[in-house]
Amino acid sequence: MDFTIKVGAAAGEGAFVTGKVLGKLFARGGYHVFGYPEYPSLIRGGHNSYQVRISDGTIESPRRENNIILVLNPDAYAFHIETLAKDGVIIVDKSFAPGKDERELALPIADLIKEAGGDMRMKNTLLVGVTLGLVGYPLEMLEQLLEEIFGSKGEEVVNANKRVARAGYEIGKDHKKWEIVPKGEPKYYIAGNEAAGLGALSAGLRFYSGYPMTPASSLLHFLISKRGKLPLAVVQSEDEIAAINQAIGAAYAGVRAMTGSSGGGFALMTEAVGLAALAEIPLVVYLAQRTGPSTGMPTWTEQADLFQVLGASQGEFLRIVLAPTSIPENYRLTGEALNLAEKYQVPVFVLVDKFLAESNATLDSLPPIPIERGPIILEDMEELPLMKRYPRYKDTETGVSPRPVPGVRGGYHIGTSYEHREDSFTTEDFDERKKQVDKRMRKLAHILNESYPPIVEGNGRVAVVAWGSQKGPVFEGAKKYKRIAFNWVYPLDKEKVKKAFEGVERIVVFENNATGLFSKLLYMETGIKPDALVLKYTGRQFFPEQVEHALEMLEEKDFQSPDPIRYEEDFEKYEFYAPWRYKVK
């Protein structure tokens, strides 16, 4: 089963709420759901849409085709009608229904609401009711959810919504075309950033600091909403520079700390990444990419900040870059990032993008993430003799040194942005300098040893490769081929990567950027070179249909293309909708 419902509306008309309600209802019925929002960088005006894709099995991507489309205004009709399945239904208000398409279900929405004793704010409730009726999904589940949503507003509001929902449901039932019934245990329906927040909290996050920036803001909102429910401080900082330095301070003090932003905010944080590295203070940075450079297209997606992360801050130092490939993985890896940061005392990045951060997916459960803190010292030690410091930066076999935190007797030392001796005192002694660089770099072998091997599915001579968020659409569109995805992006273990590519003769890499950044990194780190690159940098992620199409094109060339395959006209027929082709009235 693979069923898709899309809601299209002007910004502020409630497309997201409607979509999320539908997503939650099907998740409660045990389905796998993927929810995908699109919106321009505006608060009012412009066009918003939300697609809910429902399936029996795991899904990690939206798709182009829709079975049901709910449109709340004439623009939405024009934008989305092309993506309606042949046997689909478009639910539309009679006042602006063109009336030329037999797939239209034109409703006198205002009259129906009035008859049911509701008001026009309940338009979305009505449409959800119609949709559930069309697929035969139990109305009681919607009624239950309406009670939860509107309960605080009083019985009358709940009852009016229920009446409107029922009125819609009855109409839907009269046109019933499909049969979708609850099939199992409820699942969590969670957005990428919320999954990251939950994962971090499961792994013991105690401090988060951030400054609002799309698409990272919703992580800040989520964590603030959990303040007071467990030991947690969340600071809305005066700027991103403050945010990262606050997180470094908190981490130095001995708590698990994280900061987050998008590329622009992270540019401001850059200098402090080096401080964390030199002072060996465990730090996690959650970076949700959007379309750049500069302000770019703030509410759209891209994978173009990889080298920004790899090159952030002056000097040479180790860092770890994770790129979760799905929303459940964002839960796990954001938690793991906190482990890696403390075990190796290096900066760790969780590199996601708008597509992953703001889409929703279902999770069966939220398994606790085991906490490994590395050599942190939290208990008092023997008092040090006067005039002595603790050897915080002791040259060890693994390169990682025991780390007492303030409050611990006998651990006196400073965290410092200067090169330092073992006892943390500033030094310009060449031997000490070299010793400390070697010590810090020695961690690499241990980090590589722990690094995750690429995710491999399927077999064959052609490998289709993605990294981070693009795994979902790329794997779905490349089912015929061997599929390889990277969630551990840097540093790469040559042997593990080569093993994943064993038996492969052709390599096609899909990237959501204009220059194939990950392919360059892959070549630099492992010598593996793709035979063809497929690049999309319009502001949208790939759709499975596009991946399929690109691979068909490449098949004719035996999957070899000296020039990258770029997003062209013939890709557009696989797009969601193209609002830029229409005049918004």
Binding site: S202, P368, D380, R389
Partner: protein
Amino acid sequence: MEFNTPEKPQWCPGCGDYGIHTALKQALHEVGAHPKDTVIVSGIGCGSKIPNYVRSYGLEGLHGRVIPTSVGIKIANPELTVIGIGGDGDGFSEGGNHFIHGARENFDIVYIVQDNHIYGLTTGQASPTTPKGMKTKTTPDGNMINEFRPVPMALVAGATFVATAFAGDIMHLKEVIKEAIAHKGFAFIDVYQPCVTWNKLNTYDWYRERVYKTTHDPSDWNQAWEKAWEPYVTDFEKIPLGVIYKKEREIADDFFSPGRKNLVKEPLDPNGIDVSFLAKEFL
């Protein structure tokens, strides 16, 4: 003393940093602070080398970022005595935004500025507090720009403890630092400090002729405001020293960290935390 280090600071002979260093250690000792519960946070500059010369915990961070770094430490572990310290270029130029918002939000830290009106470590450029007319490497014909006024600025921004002191009067400075440590909220001390190498105008003698200990009521905003402006309205003929303003109000730490627990001491289950109780809204 428990805060002494084997290494001796290497500032220029006669540098005001020596006085601040001595007063700080003495103040910590006298308030009974233990090195294990003390964190000296600095930025970058001559004076910012100070964490190297105090045997306690410390974080010598980035130029301009003394306040956010201190804030992160204090919020994580409110039981610590966190002293942020840095120069005037560090705090008022590079870190101006943090100064304004640190004062506004009233974080529970001490913030000492070693205010010598010049960039020392980078060899003598004009700073935000360089007096008008002064010649420096970057103002070879004399500084044309109005100076930054830290004390009125701190007041306007909402600091709840604002004081001035003079690096040449260690006993007084020490007492002011002790009072700042005892204060709950953002405690700012602007320490007038001669730079014997680069600032030939604001010398020890220059200050001694102008400074006096103020005896006004620091809880009275109007009197505080008058004292804050006195150096500027008298063309630096009269420079008051001491607590200019002091009035406690709610601190941001309580807002950002409800219950204000010592988050370091909150136990962490090695098996991970079951967060399903936080995810009910997603079911």
